[in-house]
């Protein structure tokens, strides 16, 4: 692999503790670090900072500031969020590496041609991350550590040439180094203030003082030594759980919270060139059993707008039995879905086909899957068995039947008799000699009937039958409309 072509994008998430809990946009919220003897503020969102909360403050001090909500830090939620984000980043490159606790590394050198350059790539990455609710620090450099240091120092630069790396890294403060506080203090004690000072010192002396590992870090940052990273293996199944900061009672608010999950799902699916066929939602309630919501798609899709639309239709009909405290989205069924090719002519067959199925999905999302179906004929003598429901668009066998009414009743209706003739709002007059239909003994539901077309004085035409065995003589089965 040509070293020259490597370009690493470091995605830093300094606010991950807040973002993993969905607190960034909330009113005055802080995340507290419960490790150590006394809980202290780890970080607060912008609204909390405006009120005066600062990292390191004690809880009592924060309470005095005003109405600020406190949430315990959840490292498991952060790790889960980071891994999901890594799966989402798979749509930009095949080489994603975790840089815990709050960063991701993407090797994008080989993908640049596909995306049309660094600027184009960043124009997709950054808004995508913002839509997911993350506020990243991005930097690109030929080495992973180089990009990491730049991002940590808030230098959102793009450096493509390794030779320029040293000059760019030199002014960065020592705080960016991944070493312990003791080492940083010792470096400061030597009078070193930035990376440039470290790099000017002789290597042997640095190695003796701070260990070979320290020198190794500097070497890898400058590209003097290789820095292989292990590739992140995305899970085969998309499963993402979102803890809601506040319980949600309104189905519409659920839609808003779900949107991020759907955007992540969309990135995950794009990375696998697949679409979702079945999406299972689990809604968690306190002290009650979970509720479930299942979406089934006719054609696989990863379009977040389409999925949001289907979810909205389903949520509109949902009565929440209790407030929801967490959501889980699981996609087990995926199917290959390459990017859609635009049809040559608008309104062509391909376009109408796609929106035909999308239209049925919309109907089904609101009315239920069984509410929408197609019709098909069956080669059967018994009239009630000569038709069946089928999937919309399913081709029907080409069968010929005798003259049949356009309407069939769900079940034959007994007719009363007046003066010995069948009566349905008026005397019925038989128009033909009758058609004998028998059969079905092989299934246990056998019939033996004589069917007639009957007309009423006011012009209505009906399909009635007379059972050969049985006590009730006449039944209405269909209407000639």
């Amino acid at each position: 692999m040509n070293d020259r072509s490597l370009l690493w994008l470091y995605l830093g998430l300094p606010c991950l503790p807040l973002e993993a809990l969905g607190l960034v946009d909330r009113q005055h919220a802080c995340v507290i670090d419960t490790e150590g003897r006394a809980p202290r503020v780890l970080m607060g969102n912008c609204a909390a900072h405006a009120l005066g909360a600062a990292p390191g403050m004690k809880l009592n001090a924060v309470y005095a500031l005003g109405d600020i909500e406190m949430y315990a830090r959840r490292p498991s939620a952060e790790e889960h969020a980071l891994r999901s984000l890594a799966a989402w980043c798979g749509q930009f490159t095949s080489m994603v590496s975790l840089a815990p606790p709050d960063g991701l590394l993407l090797e994008v050198g080989k993908s640049l041609a596909l995306f049309g350059g660094v600027t184009a790539l960043l124009e997709q990455v950054r808004p995508g991350l913002l839509a997911l609710g993350y506020h990243p620090r991005l930097a690109l450099a030929p080495t992973p550590l180089g990009a990491t240091f730049l991002a940590r120092a808030d230098q959102e630069l793009v450096i493509t040439d390794k030779r320029a790396l040293r000059a760019r890294l030199a002014p960065l403060p020592l705080a960016v180094l991944p070493v312990g506080a003791a080492v940083k203090e010792a470096l400061a004690g030597l009078g070193l203030r930035d990376l440039g000072d470290c790099l000017r010192l002789p290597r042997a002396g640095l190695a003796r003082r701070f260990g070979q590992e320290f020198v190794g870090i500097l070497d890898r940052a400058l590209g003097r030594q290789p820095d292989p990273r292990s590739a992140f293996q995305p899970p085969t199944r998309f499963e993402r759980r979102l803890e809601l900061a506040h319980e949600i009672e309104d189905a519409q608010a659920l839609l808003f919270a779900s949107r991020r999950l759907l955007l992540e799902l969309s990135g995950f699916l794009r990375a696998r060139a697949a679409g979702a066929r079945a999406i299972d939602w689990t809604l968690f309630h306190h002290g009650r059993r979970e509720s479930y919501l299942n979406l089934r798609l006719l054609t696989p899709s990863r379009d977040p707008e389409h999925l949001t639309h289907l979810l909205r239709a389903r949520l509109e009909r949902l009565e929440l039995s209790a407030p929801v405290c967490a959501l889980r989205l699981v996609v087990a069924g995926v199917a290959p879905l390459t990017g859609s090719t635009l049809p040559l002519l608008p309104g062509s067959k391909q376009e109408t086909q796609e929106s035909s199925m999308a239209f049925i999905e919309r109907l089904r999302a609101r009315l239920g899957t069984d509410a929408v179906c197609g019709l098909s004929v069956v080669a059967e003598h018994r009239p009630e068995c000569a038709w069946r429901r089928c999937a919309p668009g399913e081709p029907s066998p080409a069968l010929r039947f005798h003259h049949r009414p356009l309407w069939l009743l769900k079940a034959p209706r007994r007719l009363e008799l007046r003066t010995g003739r069948p009566y349905l709002g008026g005397d019925l007059e038989l128009l033909d000699r009758g058609e004998r239909i028998e059969g079905g003994w092989w299934e246990g539901h056998d019939i033996a009937r004589d069917y007639f077309v009957a007309r009423r004085a006011d012009g209505g035409c009906f399909w009635i039958f007379c059972e050969l065995q049985g006590t009730d003589p006449w039944f209405l089965h269909g209407i000639f409309e």
Partner: protein, 211 residues
Amino acid sequence: MSPDAVLDAVLRDRGIWRFGRESPVVGESISTGFVDLDASLPGGGWPRGALTEIIAPRAGIGALSLVMPALARLSRADRWLAWIDPPYIPYAPALTGRGLELARVLMVQGIEQSSDRLWAIEQSLRSGTCSAVLAWLRNVDTRAIRRLQLAAEIGQGWGVLFRPSAARREPSPAALRLCLETDRRGYAVHILKRRGGSGASIVPLDPGCLR
């Protein structure tokens, strides 16, 4: 421009109806399959991109047969024929006998709420994926019908509303309103409302050609 030319340009506007003249029909029409009926309808057929209301006093007198030839022709195209909440089962062997392509038939049933029914009709009309939408409605107010009319204009499909005879006295914004009258002798279509066009407002039809 001279005042005459200006006046002409204004009067040529399709939105202006001049008494005594056939106003041009906006939108295409779908032939009904009955020559006499075609002659009496503006545009020579069912109005596309608009609603047709068919008022039938009772079941079994042929309201559905009236639209069958047009449905059969439309079923050969690539779009759905949607049946929204029909009162009985549309019998597939009969439909296929009338020339309907069953693969294009979409049946929507099992709807419990009337708001869902109206939503389904509106979505089907609006989406542009249905060439015809058949619906059976009892009590529905003028505003809802107007919404459906607009949806039909957007989707450019043909919407058919089957209504009971009580609807005859209510005003309706549908583009075409027909009422069926039948007795032992014959069968007649009364045209209650149409957009422009002249011609007989009562069209007798031979019952034989309907069955």
